[in-house]
C-alpha cells in the first residue's frame, strides 16, 4: 500500500456533534450490550438490531434506547466501567450500527475502549460531578446538541463546557485518522520480520 493511497482513505475524527442518550448504571457488561446468542453469525451486519436486546425487552419499551425522546441520538452517555466483560467487538459494532458515534462516561473497560478506537468511535471520560450534570441536562432536554471536541478536549452542552478526558495516543489516532491500525502496523515493513528473527520460538 503506497502512502498516497493511505492518505486518500484516512478518516480524521476531531469532533462529534449530535443529540445524546443517557444510559445510567455502572459495570454495564458486553453480554448485556449484545447477548451471545446474537453472535452466531459470520458478519456484523445484523448487530445493530440486537443492541441491548434483553435489557430492552425486560424494560418493556422503557429502555433509553427505545425512548422516543432519544431517537436519533448519536452520543451515548454512560456510567463507570462501561463495556466490561468480553472482548467481543460485536458490542461496539452493535452500538455503532444502532447509530452511536461516540461514548461519554465515567470510565470504560479497556478492551471495549480499544475496540471502539479501532472502529473510530471515541470514548471520552468525565469526572463524576460533571458526568452527573451532563446526564441531568440531557435527560431534561434530550433534543439539545452535545458537542465533543477532541482537539480542545471538551464537551459542550446546555450544562456548559466541560473538560473531558481521552488518552493522548487515542486522541492522536482519531484526530490524525490513524485509528485503523492495520495500515499503521503494516507500515513497519520488514521491521516485523527483523524482530521475529530475534525471537527463538518464532
Amino acid at each position: 500500500m503506497s502512502p498516497n493511497k493511505n492518505d486518500e482513505v484516512l478518516v480524521r475524527i476531531a469532533e462529534i456533534e449530535g443529540s445524546a442518550c443517557v444510559l445510567r448504571g455502572d459495570d454495564v457488561d458486553t453480554d448485556r450490550i449484545i447477548p451471545a446468542r446474537f453472535m452466531k453469525v459470520v458478519t456484523f451486519d445484523d448487530m445493530g438490531r440486537h443492541a441491548f436486546e434483553d435489557a430492552r425487552k425486560a424494560a418493556k419499551g422503557k429502555h433509553p434506547l427505545d425512548d422516543p425522546r432519544y431517537s436519533g441520538a448519536e452520543i451515548l452517555v454512560v456510567g463507570n466501567n462501561f463495556g466490561c466483560g468480553s472482548s467481543r467487538e460485536h458490542a461496539p459494532q452493535a452500538l455503532m450500527r444502532f447509530g452511536f458515534k461516540a461514548f461519554v462516561g465515567g470510565s470504560f473497560a479497556e478492551i471495549f475502549a480499544g475496540n471502539c478506537t479501532s472502529l473510530g468511535l471515541p470514548c471520552v471520560t468525565l469526572p463524576a460531578d460533571a458526568l452527573a450534570k451532563l446526564m441531568d441536562a440531557v435527560e431534561l432536554d434530550p433534543q439539545q446538541r452535545v458537542r465533543i471536541d477532541l482537539v480542545a478536549r471538551t464537551i459542550r452542552s446546555r450544562a456548559g463546557v466541560m473538560p473531558a478526558g481521552i488518552p493522548d495516543g487515542v486522541r492522536m489516532q482519531l484526530t490524525e485518522g490513524t485509528w485503523d491500525a492495520t495500515r499503521v502496523l503494516l507500515d513497519a515493513g520488514d521491521a516485523i520480520e527483523r524482530t521475529a528473527a530475534t525471537i527463538p520460538y518464532f
Binding site: G25, D26, D27, D29, D31, R32, A36, R37, M39, K40, V41, V42, T43, F44, D54, A55, K57, A58, N80, N81, C84, G85, S86, S87, R88, E89, H90, P92, S107, A109, E110, I111, G114, N115, S118, L119, P167, D168, G169, V170, M172, Q173, E176, T178, D180, A181, T182, V184, L185, L186, A188, A191, I192, T195, A196, T198, I199, P200, Y201, F202
Partner: protein, 475 residues
C-alpha cells in the same frame, strides 16, 4: 531475546522482558507495535476479521503462528456434521474454509485435539513462557499462567494480527499480587481469584498486568495457576501472569509443540531466566492472606459481587455509596434478600466446565464430591470437559462413570453453558451453580437466568444438596 539483562542493567519484571523482546517499534500514538508470537483463533470472533482481510486483499503474514479451534458454538451432545443448528454449522464451515484458504492449522474434532481455545493451547504446548499470545477472546489471560503475556483482543485486532502479526498497544503498569500463607482444605484457585477480584474490584486492574506470586501461587499446579490467570480480565486487568518455575517446566515437558529431549533443557533454562528479576520495582504490590480465604461464591451480577460461603449477602446500606446502586440492581435481578445467608440458596442447574475450571484436576475434585451422593431430584447437572484430551483422560480414570452414577450428564468438550451459544442454556429464572467465570445478567442463555460462580467442588456439592452448601462440611 539474546540476553535477559536490560540495557541499563536495571532489574526487570517478566512483563517488561517479554515486552522488550517483542517490541517492533514505538508508534506516534505512544503505543507500542508489539509482535505476537502465538495467535489463537476460534469461530466466533475470527470470520469478520478474515472478511476484512479479503476486502483489503491482504495475506496472512505468518500463517504458521496462528492456530484455530472450535469451541463456543459446538454442541456438547451430538457433534456429528453437519451440526444440527444451521447457524452453528455455517460458523464452523467458515472457520474451516478460512483455515484452508490461508494455511492455518485447525484443531477440529477430527484431530482429537479440539477443545476450548484456552485449554488446548497449554495442553498442546503451544503456550510457552516468554511468548506474546493474542486471541479474540477475553480469557486469553489464562495463558499467562506460563509466564506468557497474553491479551484478549477484538476482531479488528484479530485482523491486525493476521495481516501483520502485530498489535498496537499502550504500555501497562505491573501490579504484583502476593498471596501469602496456605490455603485451607476445600479452598481452591477459583476462591483465590474471586477473593482477589473482591478486594481490588472489577475494574481495579485497568491499565495493568497482574503478576501473581507468593507461597500460595508457588504451591499451585499449572492448572490452578490457569484458573487464577483466567479471571484476571474479570478484575479489569489487561493480562495476568505467573513467573515460570520448575512446575511450569515439568508441565511443558513432552508436549506436542515443546522441543524434544535434547533441546528441552536449554529451553527450560531460558524460560526460568525470564522470571521477574529480584529487586524489580513494581508499580504497586498488593498482599492477600491466603489462609483467610474461604470457599467463595458470587451472589450478584458481576464477579466482584462475591463472598465467603459463611457470609451474608450485602445490604445496600452496608456498602460504600458508589456501590449502592449496583448492589440494589443485583439484588433485584437475583431476587435475593439483602442480609440473607448465601448458604442454603436453592439451585436448579449445576454446570462444571469452561476455560476457568474444565480441566482434569477440576474434574477430579468434582468427582470426589460426586462420589458422596446423588444429584438432587429436579436439578440438571452437566459436566463438560474443556477439551477432547481432558475428556479422554477423565474417561481413562473412570471419572465419567462416577459422574454418571451420581446423576450428572457427561458431555462432549466445548464452552457449553459458560455462555450458552450452543443448545446448553438456562431456562427462565433458573439458578445455576457454575464453575465458569461470568455471572452477568443473561450470561447462561436465559435473559433472566441467574448464575452463582464457585469452584467445581462447590458446584458438585450444590448439585447433590440441591442448594448452596459449604464443601468443607462434606468431609
Amino acid at each position: 531475546m539474546t540476553s535477559n539483562a536490560s540495557p541499563s542493567g536495571a532489574p526487570r519484571s517478566l512483563f517488561q522482558k517479554v515486552w522488550d523482546a517483542h517490541r517492533v517499534r514505538e508508534l506516534p500514538s505512544g503505543q507500542t507495535q508489539l509482535l505476537i508470537g502465538t495467535h489463537l483463533i476460534h469461530e466466533v470472533t475470527s470470520p469478520q476479521a478474515f472478511a476484512m482481510l479479503r476486502e483489503l486483499g491482504l495475506p496472512v503474514r505468518f500463517p504458521a503462528r496462528t492456530f484455530a479451534t472450535v469451541d463456543h458454538i459446538i454442541p456438547t451432545d451430538d457433534q456429528s456434521r453437519p451440526l444440527a443448528d444451521d447457524l452453528a454449522e455455517a460458523m464452523m464451515s467458515e472457520l474451516e474454509r478460512n483455515c484452508r484458504d490461508y494455511g492455518i492449522q485447525f484443531f477440529g474434532p477430527e484431530t482429537g485435539a479440539q477443545g476450548i481455545v484456552h485449554v488446548i493451547g497449554p495442553e498442546l504446548g503451544l503456550t510457552q513462557p516468554g511468548m506474546t499470545i493474542a486471541c479474540g477472546d477475553s480469557h486469553t489471560s489464562t495463558h499467562g499462567a506460563f509466564g506468557a503475556i497474553a491479551f484478549g483482543i477484538g476482531t479488528s485486532q484479530v485482523r491486525d494480527v493476521l495481516a501483520s502479526q502485530c498489535i498496537a498497544i499502550a504500555p501497562l503498569k505491573v501490579r504484583r499480587i502476593e498471596v501469602t500463607g496456605k490455603l485451607a482444605p476445600g479452598v481452591y484457585a477459583k476462591d483465590v481469584i474471586l477473593a482477589i477480584i473482591r478486594r481490588l474490584g472489577v475494574n481495579g486492574g485497568v491499565g495493568h498486568a497482574y503478576e501473581y506470586a507468593g507461597p500460595v501461587i508457588d504451591a499451585m499446579s499449572m492448572e490452578e495457576r490457569m484458573t487464577v490467570c483466567n479471571m484476571s480480565i474479570e478484575g479489569g486487568a489487561r493480562c495476568g501472569y505467573v513467573n515460570p518455575d520448575r512446575t511450569t517446566v515439568e508441565y511443558l515437558r513432552g508436549r506436542r509443540y515443546t522441543p524434544d529431549d535434547a533441546g528441552f533443557e536449554a529451553k527450560a533454562k531460558a524460560w526460568l531466566a525470564l522470571a521477574s528479576d529480584p529487586g524489580t520495582v513494581y508499580d504497586d504490590v498488593v498482599r492477600i492472606d491466603g489462609s483467610k480465604i474461604e470457599p467463595s461464591i458470587t451472589w450478584g451480577i458481576h464477579p466482584g459481587h462475591n463472598l465467603g460461603v459463611s457470609e451474608s449477602i450485602p445490604t445496600p446500606n452496608g456498602v460504600p455509596d458508589d456501590e449502592r446502586a449496583g448492589v440494589e440492581e443485583a439484588l433485584e435481578y437475583m431476587d435475593f434478600a439483602a442480609g440473607a445467608s448465601i448458604e442454603g440458596t436453592p439451585i436448579d442447574v449445576a454446570f462444571i466446565g469452561s476455560c476457568t475450571n474444565g480441566r482434569i484436576s477440576d474434574l477430579r475434585e468434582a468427582a470426589k464430591v460426586a462420589k458422596t451422593g446423588h444429584v438432587k431430584a429436579g436439578v440438571r447437572a452437566l459436566v463438560v470437559p474443556g477439551s477432547m484430551a481432558v475428556r479422554e483422560q477423565a474417561e481413562k480414570e473412570g471419572l465419567h462413570e462416577i459422574f454418571r452414577a451420581a446423576g450428572f450428564e457427561w458431555r462432549e468438550p466445548g464452552c457449553s453453558m459458560c455462555l450458552a451459544m450452543n443448545p446448553d442454556k438456562l431456562k427462565g429464572r433458573e439458578v445455576c451453580a457454575s464453575s465458569s467465570n461470568r455471572n452477568f445478567k443473561g450470561r447462561q442463555g436465559s435473559p433472566s437466568g441467574r448464575t452463582l460462580l464457585m469452584s467445581p467442588a462447590m458446584v458438585a456439592a450444590a448439585a447433590i444438596a440441591g442448594k448452596v452448601v459449604d464443601v468443607r462440611k462434606l468431609s
